[in-house]
């Protein structure tokens, strides 16, 4: 059965007709060609498909596209202006928080939500905060450092804007 859905993705409104069973991750990757959102497990364990849905991190591999009708979605492609880095992207670059890059978009999207809720997390809070996202390459030390750097950077930005 087909359904018409309308949602906002990275600031742009999109209307599409989708099957009831179409997963949000496939809608994003295949219908919208936003391939930065990845699929790693199909069971909500690895978090490679993490996006922001109405500001909250969501694993799009176990979320139906129809359920996202009316939602505001942000993917990795939409967090910084072309050619610039979000502080979390910069943190991952500076602290060598990525190797193969496959988990990276999901890890970054999750970190945005984490820092929104806890702008100054401890190492342990970061580790628990990203424990729904698997990375097989980095051993996580540098991901933790990347997120710490971003937290400090975003705190500074906040202070200067206030």
């Amino acid at each position: 059965m087909k359904h018409e859905i309308t949602l906002t993705i990275n600031g742009q409104s999109v209307t599409a007709e989708v099957d009831s069973r179409l997963l949000l991750v496939h809608f994003i990757r295949e219908n919208l060609d936003l391939t930065g959102t990845h699929i790693g497990c199909d069971t909500s364990n690895c978090g490679a498909c993490t996006i922001l849905l109405n500001g909250k991190s969501v694993k799009s591999c176990t979320y139906l596209a129809v359920r996202a009708d009316g939602a505001e979605i942000t993917t990795i492609e939409g967090i910084a202006a072309e050619g610039t880095n979000h502080p979390i992207q910069q943190g991952f670059h500076d602290q060598h928080g990525l190797h193969c890059g496959f988990c990276t978009p999901g890890m970054i999207m999750r970190s945005i939500d984490l820092l929104n809720n806890n702008p100054n997390p401890t190492e342990e809070e970061i580790r628990w905060g990203i424990s729904g996202n698997l990375c097989r390459c980095t051993g996580y030390n540098n991901i933790v450092k990347s997120i710490r750097q971003a937290a400090e950077e975003m705190q500074k930005e906040k202070e200067t804007t206030v």
Partner: protein, 785 residues
């Protein structure tokens, strides 16, 4: 320590420059196989066997083909018409592409459904009606050689039982004699279970055949694109696929770790499908398909270590039963069916050793693929490092002291090991002492003594390992007959910027940065001015790919030598431009100058420009070089790892308090990247030590085939790693480098196992097989109290 020869701007060896490849990954612009979308592309889904061992009575395609959008169902019978239903494994065993009569393991590919979209393909796969006649599988490898065991591979003419091969090395009689007469002998059966690489990107391909150009392009999750091209040409040559018409493109790879070396059946089916249908066909494995085809390790090792009463090691013997599943798909060099397992004598100086191994068939997925170690080094290191600890416990000697007393000394290199390797370099004593200092070993020993008095369980575990990596030399090492060398091709453009291509393929190791740094070191051209390209067989020079820590030892060396060829050419050009003889020209990073007159000089960029604009008479124009590097020996990275754990008696919970890793990987190209590789490898070391292991029931069903129950460590399970280095440059590598990425995966599991077992020692527990889970610890505690 290593001193940088170049400025930070040039960014040669030793600089922790930020990675050049990061931007596309950070912005979601990486190009992985599943991101490839071609016009008219179809999707393929595999139908897989629910049984571990069964006759196929029938396959009915009708209902599947009736679904709108399902275009084809391909079976083994269909492939048999083209003689494509079997293929060789990388170790010259044979593997079904699709079965015609029997399935040999759970989740084996039975047939393929091709459809216009992945949802329809899945519908089609569910609609295919396969009738099976289940048979009793062999799951326990120790039963595979029973007289009444069914013969699993009657398809192989000479196969009279389920033994694949027997292998041995060393002097059995002498080793037995020394063991029989020794003061102390410790024995243990050690099992390293099947585990899976579990890269976050699974495997997949997009195969596209153009009937007009007769060209086959395959985007493939492969660590070895050239080897795959040759294999495809050899396997499918008879249907008209010729090697110059095959192009393998390995785009961005989401982690490899050995899992992307083999040729999987679905790759071949996708190629057959595009060949027959004439449209691109995509196949992407799902996570469960990926895990259930788990394959690495699976060695049962009976070990004996003999020593004098004060702990001087005299002999080591290991007899192994290897479970290879239904086919030996080891990616080992052909003369080394057990890979580099004979490195099992370890970092210690003694004369006598004997290793033997029997490999058997069982009803499991193809076994033996190397997982982040240079062909069976993990098994070898686990065996010796557990046994050395067991010896220390038996004679009541500090395991650090026992190791220090038995180490090969630095002046003994090159060292001939009892099983035939020539260790190139190392300073094991300095490495262990550095690890002990960094940890504060003596303080922890005191703390442990105090805790034991209080009845608490605290353990300290050491592993001092030696690896053997970087295959060739090609006279000894090959894959399906293809010699194991690797290559670099450098093109320096007239404006002094460069493009370099390699026969290897990064899967996250950072080649685009580190190879550029090697060239920056050798040519003085800033690393930011050098583009690195790999993975496309139509453009890259031939090489055997990236696995077994071989990229730096082989392709990295090729880069250095190709660059030195260019430097020699540049010297001639500089002499011409400066109007002096070649002998009067000297080189320092980035420029040539006249001996004794340093003000008379030409930069590398000026020299390169002249190679295109002002060519010395008689000289071949251009500034390009290629080198195929065949190493004279392997390299022998080594390290000392120490782990401190506390175990809760009531629950069996294990808390890793500290983990210190000191690695000697020779000279370091990029310290930041090396540290990152070590961190990642350590987490892949704690994984099998405490969490991972593919479990089977008696029927051959995999019990943990998803990430819900196959426990890849998260950031919470992964400890805060502490790392450091000693450096003994490899004497035969042009850069003094050794390779690093696999050391931590090899070295960490025994350090963790030794620590946990040390914690449990006061209860009388002498050994536990990995993964050492809280449940296993709890059971052991119950059994010993």
């Amino acid at each position: 320590m290593f001193k940088c020869k170049t400025s930070a701007e040039v960014g040669g060896m030793g600089h922790s420059v930020k990675r050049k490849e990061d931007a596309r990954f950070l912005h979601g612009k990486g190009n992985y196989v599943d991101d490839v979308k071609l016009p008219g592309m179809l999707t393929m889904v595999m139908v897989r066997s629910p049984y571990a061992y069964a006759k196929i009575k029938s396959i009915n395609k009708e209902k599947a083909l009736a679904i709108p959008g399902v275009l084809a169902v391909i079976t083994g019978e269909d492939l048999a018409q083209y003689n494509l239903h079997w293929m060789p494994t990388l170790l010259s065993d044979t593997q079904m592409v699709l079965p015609t009569d029997t399935v040999m393991h759970q989740a084996q590919e039975v047939c393929a459904v091709i459809a216009t979209d992945r949802y329809i393909a899945v519908d089609g796969a569910e609609a295919v009606d396969v009738q099976y006649e289940p048979m009793d599988p062999i799951v326990d490898p120790f039963k595979a050689l029973d007289k009444d065991a069914p013969l699993l591979r009657p398809d192989k003419e000479d196969q009279k039982d389920n033994q694949i091969y027997h292998w041995e090395r060393g002097d059995r009689a002498k080793t037995d004699e020394v063991i029989a007469n020794a003061d102390v002998v410790v024995k243990e059966r050690i099992h390293l279970p099947r585990i899976h690489v579990a890269s976050i990107e699974t495997c997949g391909c997009v195969a596209s055949y153009d009937k007009d150009t007769e060209k086959l392009v395959v985007y493939l999750t492969t660590q070895a694109p050239h080897a795959i091209r040759t294999v495809v040409a050899l396997v499918a040559g008879h249907v008209g696929l010729s090697e110059e018409k095959i192009r393998i493109i390995s785009p961005d790879i989401g982690g490899g770790f050995g899992g992307k070396v083999p040729v999987y059946p679905a790759y071949v089916v996708a190629i057959a499908a595009t060949f027959l249908i004439g449209k691109p066909v995509k196949w992407i494995e799902d996570r469960s398909e990926n895990l259930v085809n788990g394959f690495a390790r699976d060695y049962h090792m009976d070990c004996e270590l003999a020593a004098t009463k004060d702990g001087k090691i005299q002999a080591f013997k290991v007899s192994t039963l290897a479970d290879h599943g239904y086919t030996d798909s080891s990616a080992n060099p052909s003369k080394y069916p057990t890979g580099m397992f004979s490195i099992c004598t370890g970092s210690y100086d003694y004369e006598h050793a004997f290793a033997e191994l029997d490999a058997v068939y069982t009803n499991k997925a193809p076994g033996g693929v190397a997982y982040r170690c240079s062909f069976r080094v993990t098994e070898a290191v686990h065996a010796i490092e557990r046994m050395v600890d067991k010896l220390a416990a038996k004679i009541g000697k500090d395991p650090a002291l026992l190791r220090l007393e038995n180490f090969i000394k630095k002046e003994q290199f090159p060292y001939s090991s009892p099983l035939g390797w020539s260790y190139d370099s190392g300073d094991y004593e300095a490495t262990l002492k550095k690890a002990m200092d960094m940890l504060g070993y003596d303080d922890y020993k005191k703390e442990q003594a105090q805790k034991r008095k209080e009845g608490k369980l605290m353990g300290i575990g050491i592993s001092t390992f030696t690896e053997v990596v970087g295959a060739g030399p090609s006279k000894d090492f090959d894959i399906l007959g293809i010699a194991m060398f690797d290559s670099a091709e450098i093109r320096v453009h007239p404006t002094g910027k460069a493009l370099a291509r390699f026969g290897t393929k990064s899967q996250g190791q950072g080649h685009e940065t580190t190879y550029a740094q090697i060239l920056a070191e050798e040519l003085g051209i800033p690393y930011t001015d050098i583009e690195i390209d790999e993975g496309d067989t139509d453009t890259a020079p031939y090489g055997l790919g990236t696995y077994a820590s071989r990229s730096t030892p082989t392709a990295g060396a090729a880069a250095a030598i190709a660059a030195r060829k260019l430097r020699d050419k540049g010297k001639k050009i500089a002499a011409y431009l400066l109007e002096v003889s070649e002998e009067d020209i000297e080189w320092e990073v980035g420029k040539y100058f006249v001996k004794g007159a340093p003000e008379k000089s030409k930069t590398i960029q000026e020299v390169v420009f002249a190679a295109y604009t002002n060519i010395p008479p008689g000289m071949e124009p251009g500034f390009e070089a290629t080198h195929y590097y065949d190493p004279p020996n392997l390299t022998f990275p080594n390290g000392a790892y120490i782990c401190v754990v506390e175990v809760e008696k009531e629950t069996g919970a294990i808390d890793v308090k500290r983990f210190v890793a000191i690695d000697d990987c020779g000279n370091i190209i990029n310290p930041m990247i090396v540290e990152g590789q070590v961190h990642g490898g350590l987490t892949q070391g704690i994984a099998p030590a405490m969490y991972e292991g593919i479990e089977y029931d008696d029927e051959g069903n995999v019990l943990n085939g998803t990430f819900m129950d196959y426990l890849v460590p998260t950031a919470v399970e992964s400890p805060h790693w502490e790392t450091g280095h000693t450096i003994t440059p490899s004497p035969h590598h042009p850069l003094g480098a050794k390779g690093v990425a696999e050391s931590p995966t090899v070295g960490a599991p025994p350090a963790i196992a030794n620590a946990i077992i040390d914690a449990l020692a006061p209860l009388g527990i002498e050994h536990l097989d990995i993964p050492i889970t809280p449940a296993k610890v709890w059971e052991a505690i119950q059994a010993h109290s």
